[in-house]
Amino acid sequence: MLELIFLLPFAAGIAAFILPTVLGRVLLLATAIGHLTLGVLGWTGRLTPLFEHFFGASPEGLLILMVTSFIFTCIAIYAFSYAKESELGAERVFSGCMLFFLGTMSMVTVAEHPIVLWIAIEATTLVSAPLIYVHRSQRALEATWKYVLICSVGIALALLGSFFVTLALDMVELHEPLSFALLNSLATQLDPIWLKVGFSFIVIGFGTKMGLAPMHTWLPDAHSEAPSPASALLSGALLNCAFLGIYKAHILMVNAGLGEFSGNLLVVFGLASMVVGGIFIYKQSDYKRMLAYSSIENMGIIAVGVGVGGVGLYGAFIHLIHHSLIKSSLFLSAGNILLAFGTKRVEQVQGLIRSMPKTFVSFLAGFVGIAGLPPFGLFVSEFLIIVAAVRGHWYLSVAIFVLALVLVVAGAGRVVMGMSFNEGDAPSGTGEKFVRLAPAYVLLLASVTLCVWMPESIYTTILHSIQAIGGFHG
């Protein structure tokens, strides 16, 4: 029963609201492991959906599900210690909402019905809003408000887009239950105008959630104000879910023969995101915001990769996996730094290499990864996307792409190197703890491992995911 994948976290979430906080932490971990097990079962095809009109296991969904599940497990371990150290006010709400969040995200990954997908994505916004507000500061409140309102507006537009697509189906006068499979099978008969309008709204709608510029505006606020485990989850998992919505719509467009239109749109938004990421990473004074902007930039890279197609598509998926792993690791490291220094200001964090050597290693390694350097996998994806973009004659785009990447490295490098090496006072807060270090390392190690050896099944799943729009050599 595939639905278990999201029902289990839902149930656990309700339980976490009732149970005492200590049990809530255990529950978080237990659910994470249970979810991972279910994920593996789903991955191997052992779970069949009960409501197959609404849910189903698509390769791209499974891929994102597995990434989400893995990251969540690491974050759950981290949160175990973090919740204690940071003295969260409403820890029950935190644990419960984390679990709900996991549930809604899992629901996104297995949704096969456009509207169900929409419901799930909107639900992720609603259940994650309390996570951002956990610290109950004015700034957190502002961030939550912006998050909820902007995402809701954006996602409402995605609903409109989904309706337009359904409308396109209406023109065919077919009376079968709506699903992505049905849409894809009829793609060529659908009205292109409605599809284009629908896709535009879906890209803008889900793009808001995914963090594509210029709809990204909520993202830095939310990521910087949320507690670090939540930011890690937002950046490492939530954005992927929104991407999934766009990707499914893109598949439909390609099947309808409108791949060029949707690809162009994705490239434009992707490049805009990269540039925006670059602008704000440069001279950024808040390291969590910097990471948030880097997420925007990386989502842009993924969008460009999908837009240019071919090996770029493969690159986009590789990028998605590695970005999730590395970025959540970075947020976890940032959380450690925040606990120790008690500030998010870059200039007040100095000399990590002396005061927090282990966090320094994970933070710097994360930076290396995010800058697109080996042994982490992002350089493969960036290479593939550039190569594919040149092949698609996107010369100007390649130039912007390259310059934006350099700008990002310039900005992030300045921040990270300053924090790591500058002379400064030792932090006054809590020190390094194994429980909070191990997850960050495990996530990085996972990225390294995937760069050295990728399991056959992941590869085939990626191939299946991109098969629908031309595959590796398309």
Partner: protein
Amino acid sequence: METLLLSLAVVLAAGILPLLANRLFTPIKACYVVLTLLGCGWGIYSLWPLMQLSVPATYTVAWLHPFELRFSLDALSSFFLIPILCVCPLAVLYVFHYMDHKEERQRIGVHLFLFNVLVAAMAMVVLAGNMISFVLAWEMMSISSFFLVLHEYEEKATRKAGYIYLLFTQLGALCIFSGMGVGFAFTQVLDFSALAKLPETAKLWMFCLMLFGFGSKAGIFPIHIWLPYAHPAAPSNTSAVMSGVMIKMGIYGIARFYGLLEISSPLAGQIVLVFGMISGVLGVVYALGKQDIKKLLAYSSVENIGIILIGFGVGMIGAAEGNLPMAIFGFTGGLLHVLNHSIFKSLLFLGAGAVAKQAGTRKIDLLGGLMKRMPLTGKSFLTGSVAISGLPPFNGFVSEFLIYVGAFYGLQLGGVQYVFAMLAILAMALIGGLAAACFTRIVGIVFLGEPRTERTAATQESGWTMTLPLMLLACCCLVIGLWPEPFVQAAFRAYGVMQANLQLDPAQLLEITGKMALGARIFFVLFLAALVSRKLLYRDKVVDSGPTWGCGFTQGTVRIQYTGTSYALSMVEFFRPVVRLSAHYTGISKIFPANPSYETHVDDVAEQALNSGLVTPVQFVLSKLRWIQHGHIQLYIGYIIIAILIALLCI
């Protein structure tokens, strides 16, 4: 081939040793040195039979399913492998005494590990047989060298150096990616094989992108800016390998892709030649103006890259115009200079490192008289300086001579190519003269005369592991200078790989090389004869010693010695339009003036242009654009609406 890769694995394994077990500092370091030496030695040993093969040896391994890592070894690769496998172990040996602060063992452990990663990565760059393995190796090389530069991170200058290096390396890598994309666009495979079938304009585009990308690594003017920062900042074993070997990977890239693309237009050659001349001349002029030994050496690397590129440019024009001798001499000279430069530049950097470590400063004008205090280092350094100035009978002359001959062959061509050949010769002549000026300055001021500070006067010779590599390298300089034939032949074979479509005959090359070598040997014999006759003349003569003739001054102090700055000043002023010389003079105001000071420094015109022309405006624009994130939710919703309108308009 497998054994060669295994030997690289040994090198890597040797690097892991100090990373994990740095508690036992000295024994582990010794083990590390021995193991690395063994690894490199084994690599050379296994390289030998592979070089005899007529078809390139290859080794492929699947990677991440869709890709395969292919490593193949042809004459070009093996030619570039020689410096990697010969110079790097010497730098490793040098480390034993160079890094002897036990309290920094953790950092040193990391450093040594990354150093060996760098060595292995460079070998992999050279061996890479398809795009993806090239990219992987290239990025490994970049990242390891980036952290090597950051070794002394406490210094602000080091952090700046690392930062600048990171930016340039990233920009370069992305340009290389794009260049490979051009190849991929037409061949549809991530492979090297079919690049020759590209249309001519695509070839040129690809080549230019590659030239930019590799040039930023190699240090072509004006994208050399990271070099004078990174080399002084890095520890000397690293700067020796970075300057001696790693920047040659950029040259390797240019050579490799030129060979693969089979460009037939002379435009590529002209571009390379122009950049070569600019790098060569300006590199040496800036080297003249610099105060810091390692900065000077860094600029000298720019100069030598320029010489190599002049050779390549001459060769490319020759190949494009069908002037085969020009092509052969140009390329062979350029390639041989790669080898030569890797020898004497690493020698000089290691020597500079020994000086900096023992004397505690890198400022030329604070040193002096080190020849007496560090005789072995001094002698080797002198040898290296003569060699790098391209003077016979040392190795630098051989390669420069070949490039000259190639360029002279180019004079047979008409029109534009004639002008290019002529300019190449004149540029080489100018570079040669200035290089001699530059290196007489460094030898004369640093090693000769009297020490200028008390600290310098107390300098002592460094440990044997630091002097032995220097002496070995110095011997190499002389050996290649006197018996260059096998090396020229190796360079020619490497060139043969680059120009597989032409029938090349090395007879003329070898003949002229042989005669040239004979000339060098005659000179050497003449020198020995003069030396012997001098000995004879001094038999039974009274030899006395006294103070230097002070030209009337009787109480000269060491401070009246000529300084390196004034030595170079007139020459630097000659190049004033391209070399900004800024002076800072406090002036004399009172009757009894208190410590007036006069300072000059030479600013890099490329760096200034980059700062004022690109960095500042970009920063300005970026700071204006930050308005986007203005904080008001109405504005943000407005963005969404704008996005909708734009998307709808596109339909």
